[in-house]
């Protein structure tokens, strides 16, 4: 990969409950030739929740976020799948007719959405640069058995991502993790939902959904679950003990971020990757 500059949109979760996701991303980026320029003044995307109260406010906020990245003349990069989906859908709404109307509101802050910028995710960047990724691997993860959990908003709705990848038979995550040398175990729950977005109103359903994912990974012999979505990681890691207890399961499984797995293959330490910050002990994976 050529040295590539990105307007980095961390999303709220990376500054707090999934701070190890940001740490590990910032640790692997320079090795992979990626330079991250965090967007100054980025706001919450609404996380598909604020949209249910005030869709126009959420659209304005995301038009502003994209416009901030446009002003940096760099593609916009996020590691959060929900941010990715929300921003992508906002861009589609703007490009399909809302642009002029929304720009009237952005003008209140002397901003303008142009519509000339790409929005992408860490998973996509790695997938598009597999040769670079392979060339940087110093510690192939052949002894690590991993279950790959996509997370809904990494792949669905397919049409929102312009059918960039099949949502019934996606391949990007497998290709990226194969490049790291890890052993991918069969995992029937790999395309399922962890339930994160309904963890407050539908807690019983959500604990079942999350617990089944952990249980299925264990049944297939995985040492850990890996996900490109920090919200899925948070859901499956932070609440794991509680949910497993509630479901009468004693299984405990490390849940790690894609950026952490990449970092392991690049030879980075637990501390550099924030593996010591995961709630379910992930330090033994190194």
């Amino acid at each position: 990969m050529q040295q590539k500059d990105f307007a980095f949109f961390p999303g709220c979760v990376l500054s707090q409950a999934a701070k190890e996701s940001k740490m590990s991303l910032e640790a692997i980026a320079p090795i992979l030739g990626i330079t991250l320029h965090e967007i100054k003044g980025w706001s919450c995307c609404g996380a598909s929740q604020a949209q249910d109260v005030d869709p126009i406010a959420a659209l304005v906020a995301n038009a502003r976020n994209i416009a901030l990245a446009e002003n940096m003349n760099m593609p916009m990069l996020t590691t959060c799948s929900t941010c990715m989906l929300t921003l992508t859908r906002a861009k589609a709404a703007l490009d399909k007719g809302a642009k002029d109307r929304i720009n009237e509101y952005l003008a209140k802050g002397n901003m303008k959405y142009q519509g000339n910028n790409e929005i992408t995710s860490l998973l996509w960047i790695l997938y598009e640069n597999l040769d670079t990724l392979k060339s940087k691997v110093v510690k192939p993860l052949s002894n690590l058995k991993v279950a790959l959990f996509y997370g809904c908003h990494s792949i669905r709705p397919e049409k929102s991502y312009n059918a960039k990848e099949s949502s019934t038979n996606p391949k990007s995550f497998e290709a990226v993790v194969s490049a790291l040398g890890a052993t991918i175990v069969p995992f029937e729950k790999r395309l399922d939902c962890c339930g994160f977005h309904a963890s407050y109103p539908a807690v019983k359903s959500v604990q079942k959904m999350s617990s089944q994912i952990v249980g299925n990974a264990d049944k297939n012999g995985a040492d850990c679950v890996v996900t490109p979505c920090p919200l899925c990681q948070m859901q499956l890691d932070i609440y794991q003990e509680r949910y497993q207890d509630a479901m009468g399961s004693e299984i405990r499984k490390p849940i790690i971020h894609l950026s952490q797995l990449v970092g392991l293959a690049l030879g980075l330490s637990n501390e550099q990757l924030g593996l010591d910050l995961n709630i379910i002990d992930a330090t033994k994976l190194a």
Partner: protein, 319 residues
Amino acid sequence: MKILIDRFNGVDKFVQAYDLSIDEVKGKTLLALLQHIKRTQDISLNFTSACRMAICGACGVRVNGHSYLACDTKMDDLLKEYDNPESLKISPLANFKVLSDLVVDWEPSIENLRKIKPTITPKEAFSDKKGCVQTQAEVDAIKKQWDCILCGCCASECNKLEADSSDYMEPFVFTHAFRAAYDSRSKDALKHLKPSIANGLWMCVHCQECADRCPKGISAADDIAMLRVMAMKKGLKDGTGPAHAEAFLKDLEDTGRLNEIYLALRSEGVLANTTKIDIAYNLMKAGKMNPLHIFGDEEIEGHEDLVKMIEAARAANKE
């Protein structure tokens, strides 16, 4: 290649394999393939179908765990989708009771459809003489949802329904509630909205499976979101779902970013959060939750302008 079909004879469930040459598979629709198997190999195989032109919705089934409308799905596309496999697995729709082989019981779903009263009562302004005239924009607002053919593909893949259907309805039911509630001719949107709320409107997990699997391109997830917007506008805000959604908007307006402590407190209240002290403790111990955030966060750069933009949008879009 092998076509594996989940069978059910009323007593036993089993998988039956049918060997077909690739020429027997290619060039057919999924429905034509099922008919071919029934005609040439196994007359006992049961499935439902009628129109063969994606109008009646009778032939929804799953292939490799994903739902498809059989008459509207080309086998060539499926072979491509699944990388020319040696076998494909055909199953009945999930989240329905199986009656026989690929035939499922629709009666509970129709009962749910009845709950949201999918027909409209016209406003007083309309009469036999005046009719129920709508503008093009008013028709456009709901016309996509009229395309729903009740095939059940969305319900089959719904992750919430799979976890627990006792407090949640099929996604297409919410689509029909949306269509009725947002119909400009309707006298009373609440008649459709209230039963939607009572039957899980705020429990959608946002998995987006319904949006992906609908053969008509309808997003029940979006329809659920729009019903939520209507609920909030009409002041129907009881429960953790509305409180959780509002918490995000409040943080956006207050500082521009999410405050995780406020999010928890605003979503569930102080009392309920005392049961999550262990989670909060673990997060604080790992340095992933800052207790000082209870005093609030700094505003993002340009927050004042963001608020101005949002206020301008609201003023312009005020009903």
